[in-house]
């Protein structure tokens, strides 16, 4: 493989502590050589690559995707940068009682990546992608900052989790209170993807293209169907994939490849 892997120990101003970020950047390789591209052309300042911000699930960390899927080979094949932050169990939110993970990832890390690495700043080349809790986070990134991320993709997403918190059926140990705060105020907040999508649609801003895949045996399946129906009702460009599978890395490893085929890579 002609890939650079970077593990960054990054002191964050927003988090106020040092966090880990894993990145993969494709190098000049056989495909370029076959296509007659020289190393000088490839390593020129003009060559900016698309970026996938790829989010892990609950209990996970920034190295998960590299350890449990073939994402690095996909990024070599399709020539895009992979950026995997750590967000602990925050659901990628600015936690009601905890760190501001959402701002860290969508402001500070986003800016750092575009100033440090050969990353495209075109929203058509910036993708928020994730699984489970990270799927929720990816959809939220794209629906909050469509000018930054032209595409959002989720697998086995926890899109419905704010509704579960409101209904008192959230499976998290504290019912999701440390993340979402008062359960009575979750619906309609910026953490409620249903409401976020409605407001974005009404705002007249550019809309991201979205993708959601969920296995029919996955415990998030019903919530994902509800979110899918909501998004299609709103008229979003929303690709829905429903197939046999459950909440497993086998499923996500298969579907990250499908996400890469769906993205403009």
């Amino acid at each position: 493989m002609n890939m650079a892997r970077l593990q960054i120990h990054m002191e964050s101003e927003i988090l106020r502590f040092t966090t880990l970020v894993d990145i993969a950047i494709p190098e000049y390789g056989f495909a370029e050589r076959r296509a007659g591209v020289s190393p000088e052309e490839y390593y020129s300042e003009k060559n900016k690559l698309p970026v996938m911000f790829l989010y892990h699930g609950g209990t996970g960390t920034c190295s998960d995707w590299f350890r449990f899927s073939r994402i690095e080979e996909l990024s070599e094949e399709k020539k895009f940068i992979v950026v995997c932050p750590t967000a602990q169990n925050s659901c990628y939110t600015n936690m009601a009682y905890g760190p501001r993970w959402f701002d860290f990832i969508n402001i500070e890390l986003y800016d750092m990546v575009h100033s440090m690495f050969p990353a495209s700043t075109d929203p058509a080349g910036n993708f928020a992608v994730g699984l489970s809790m990270g799927g929720y986070g990816a959809l939220k990134s794209a629906l909050t900052y469509p000018e930054k991320y032209g595409y959002g993709a989720a697998m086995s997403s926890a899109a419905y989790i704010p509704q579960e918190v409101a209904l008192g059926i959230c499976p998290l140990p504290d019912g999701g209170k440390s993340i979402f705060g008062d359960p009575d105020k979750v619906l309609g907040s910026d953490n409620d993807l249903f409401a976020l999508a409605e407001r974005l649609k009404a705002s007249g801003r550019v809309l991201p293209k979205l993708y959601s895949a969920c296995g029919t045996e996955d415990f998030t399946f019903e919530g994902n169907v509800k979110f899918k129906n909501h998004m299609l009702d709103l008229g979003y460009d929303f690709t829905w994939v429903q197939d046999p599978g459950s909440h497993t890395w086998d499923y996500w490893n298969d579907h990250i490849k499908m996400v890469c085929d769906w993205l403009p890579l």
């Binding site: 493989m1 002609n2 890939m3 650079a4 892997r5 970077l6 593990q7 960054i8 120990h9 990054m10 002191e11 964050s12 101003e13 106020r16 040092t18 950047i25 190098e27 000049y28 190393p39 000088e40 490839y42 390593y43 020129s44 300042e45 060559n47 500070e108 800016d111 750092m112 575009h114 100033s115 440090m116 690495f117 050969p118 700043t121």
Partner: protein
Amino acid sequence: MAIIDLTFRSAALGYNTTVTVCFPENNGSDRRTGKPYRYKPGVKYQVLWLLTGGGGDSSEWVRLTNIERYAAEKNLIVITPATFLSLYTDMYYGEKHFTYLTEELPRVMRWMLPISDKREDNFIAGFSMGGYGAFKSAFAYPERFAAAGSFGGALDMVSIVKSTHLHDGVLDRDFLLAFGSLENLEHSVNDDMYMAEKQMKAAKDMPKLFISVGKDDFTYSRNVETRDKLVDLGYDVTWDTGEGTHSYEYCDSRIRVFLEWAGLKGTPIYDTEG
């Protein structure tokens, strides 16, 4: 401060190798002291290519000194490659480490990271065999570096080999693998003093040099002799010494002196083209 452990596949070496990068990131103390937000596309940094001693990998400088902290003070990116026993050569029996260090690594890092390619923003230094690698690079490519530093450097390689590593006409193993023979070494790009003289006689604009060695370093007297030779050749040499041996402890105590001496800008470089 931030640190990157980077692994990539080198075409020059033919295998995956590691690079450690220190870079100054945006942080709370920046905001408190009113420094501008640095995560802007197009921002560049000055860079120090920092070389380990023989047998070292990319992690040594960062683990055994506080270079990460000192570099952050100067808004400097530090790039430390792994070189093992290559003596920073295109080895006679082995891989092309000098090509890696001087051609591939700068090309890939300049694309991957926001480092300036201007001579005035590029510095190279090293410990022990890395001091030799740094000076050799500066002599071979004087147009690329503003300054070079050596800490307990294995300088004047021909003299080292002749006095210590040549037995019955055969080189000791590391030197044999790197150079093949004394004849191959002499008057080659690996012959640092030959290159120093040749380039100066060609009236090249040579980088300024910083030679530092601990008072109890076993390389002390050779460093004195090398300094005198380089001064005689017309080099701008700054001599630096202090308490210490052939160690990273000594490097840690002197690398800050080098960074002060180098005349760094101390800020990110925002005014790039476009």
